[in-house]
Amino acid sequence: MVKLTIDGKEVQADEGKSLLEVCTDNGIFIPSLCFLKEMTNPPASCRLCFVEVEGLPKPVPSCRQSPAEGMVVRTDTELVRRLQRSALQLLLSAHHVDCRNCHANKRCALQNIAKFLGVGLKPKRLEPLAMEFPQEREHPNFIYDPYKCVLCGRCIFVCRKRTGYGVLTFARRGIDTVVSWFGADGPDSPPCDRCGECVNACPVGALKSKETVQAPMEAAGA
């Protein structure tokens, strides 16, 4: 155990945990999309969980920072908030914002973080990126919407963890990056367990389960 200060408050922490977890355990909300506790190498891809650590020149993603004795952490500096708002606005500019018709409405991590940061769901600063509809792709056991997906990679992580090989993967590059799968239950494709863990792991409304899964699933797990 180590002692450190977060936002002026002294806390005790397990060195094995990430700073992100330590903050959350102590009731300090850190916006994040891609982090899951079980990860040994968090991807640090959503770029929301920044904090400032005294002695480090730049904000760091708290999911990849270990707490250390005497560390002084601030989670709410101007620069941290600026980066978080900017990242969120970028995500929203590439997101099909249609909360009223979305199955994840009110459970969506984006709504939650937007509220916390005081960012409107349709920020004026950035123009929404063009989206070509229709967009959904059907897997035998779930439906995927690339314009809702924030590419956090949680579904890929839980799937690989459960099956050991992974049905899901990222595909394509740049703004066209999506979550994809091999063959979807074809003879050459790795079999889907129908566990529904991916749908449960999705922090937004990008994955929707079909009736084929074993147990009725929660829609969004954020």
Partner: protein, 646 residues
Amino acid sequence: MKAGPSNSDAIKERFETLKRDALQRFGEIKGAEVPRITIGMATCGIAAGAVETKAAFEKAIAQHNIDARVEATGCIGHCYAEPLVVIENPGFPPICYNNVTPGKARALVSSFLVDGDPLFEYVLGALEENDMIPSVRDFPRFSMEERIVTALSGRIDPEKIENYIAEGGYEALAKALALTPQEIVQEVQISGLRGRGGAGFATGRKWEFGLKAQGESKTVICNADEGDPGAYMDRTILESNPHQLLEGMAICAYAVGAEKGIVYVRAEYPLAVKMIRIAIEQAEAKGVLGSGILGTDFSFSVSVFQGSGAFVCGEETALIQSIEGKRGMPQHRPPFPALQGLWGLPTIINNVKTLSTIPAIIKKGGEWHKQMGSPKSPGSAIFSVVGKVVHPGLVEIPTGTTLRTLVFDICGGTPHRKAFKAVQIGGPSGGCLPEAFLDTPVDFDSLIEAGAMMGSGGMVVMDENSCMVDVARYFLDFTQKESCGKCTFCRIGTRQLLNILERITKGEGREGDIELLTTLCEEIKEGSLCGLGKTAPNPVLTSLKYFRDEYEAHIKEKRCPAGMCRALTAFYIDLDRCARGCDACVGSCPVEAIFTTRDRKKAIDQTKCVKCGECVAACPPQYTAVKRVSPPHLAPRIERPQEPQE
């Protein structure tokens, strides 16, 4: 693997035997009393027609039934002059010929080899001082360069290890094996060498981490991914002198205690892949690679990994993912590869140029390297200079040389008496520097201070006809496509930047765009995970800093000062200059927008014109009647006559 030095006399003896053999074989080739024709056959030479030229030489020699050898070498760096041929005809100094077409090849055989007339009109220069023919040393392009890495490029046959050994190759390895790993690391630290892959990290320090790192095995990776558009130094080095790289890798492996090496090269470089493979095979056969190198118990084997050519796979952590068979996505650092790299084990990753500099450092000493170039980034810098220069190509200069010297003295400045405008350094991660920065010395720190970057050494020279907004747009288009898609700022942020830049170049720029670009750029730089995203805004930030007036002209006046953005320019024909009855331009127009006016001159129908500029080129130089204007409404409107005119 072996921790300590071995018996230095035994190593020396082994190496001397190798060298004697090589000198003997190579001497036979060199000292022969028959003419020798050497052709640059790297990718640049082949693209310029070297294969045809070589065939023409061989055929002509056979036809004349003379005794002469035709041999291949790598790239000498003078890409503007390819195909480049050196003829060593007994009784003459070695003479270099440029742009040797099959026709010239035939003429050279019959005139020079048969009749003894060296055909002065085709000569670029002699490679040695003499009274007969001016030497290439008289050209700044040759005399101002200082070649370490490319010293033997274009002078030896990359497919013959003996040729490299005869020129002093693998001597550094033999010397290194008699030292302790600590001594080598220290020598590299003294040399002040900084990584040539872009970031300029101190190589000696990296090796020290590697040496101290704990792990059941270690790997040395040579990064030859080279994804910058327009950069081809690494390819050329692999194609022209692969053994020097292998020697550098072996020294590195010995210093850090690695037994495996991987050359990560993109599959689009088939010739480079072939050359390095041949080199590995030959080096193993000679015992300078493989198990028990030069009789010691140090073993090091090298394999080639072909990447599929994603720019981001040049980033070290993505490169490692790619070798592990995963999608090439950068990972958060720390841990750094030197401690936890390939398969979680210590891995030293260095660029081709970095590793290729090592043999010279070991041979001549760290102090020698430290003395060369600018104190904080000593050594040489290799640039591929392309764009609007008279003599594009590969240049190796001491660091600290100014951009002015590089662009104007060495590469001959901008052609066609056009004004120099900017130089883009460091590719998509770099920036555009204007004329006022021409006295910036070429080194890591000065370039970063100016807002550009050494990058991997791509340099594009631009003249007055380049629009800086469009240049920024071009690079952003590249980076946003090459973003791995992992993190928010890079994936979406670069696309947003591109969209704004596209709007501006189309004349749809808005009040506030410059501010939005600036803040977004800052956030992308700060927030991105890897170097790709962190540096992607550089082309926008530097052009905003040094050419802000161009952005403003686009946004406020819908004017492109360089006249390059199509939506903001128009072509028209100056009726005072147009020659009555001439119709040179008419056929050049792909959309039939040019019509004849009532007084039998020509005019452009603005509703039809697609602004390709073909007519500008077609109009005879004595008239130069086609003009380009921005904004487009400045073009006079001329009504097409109802009846077609004669």
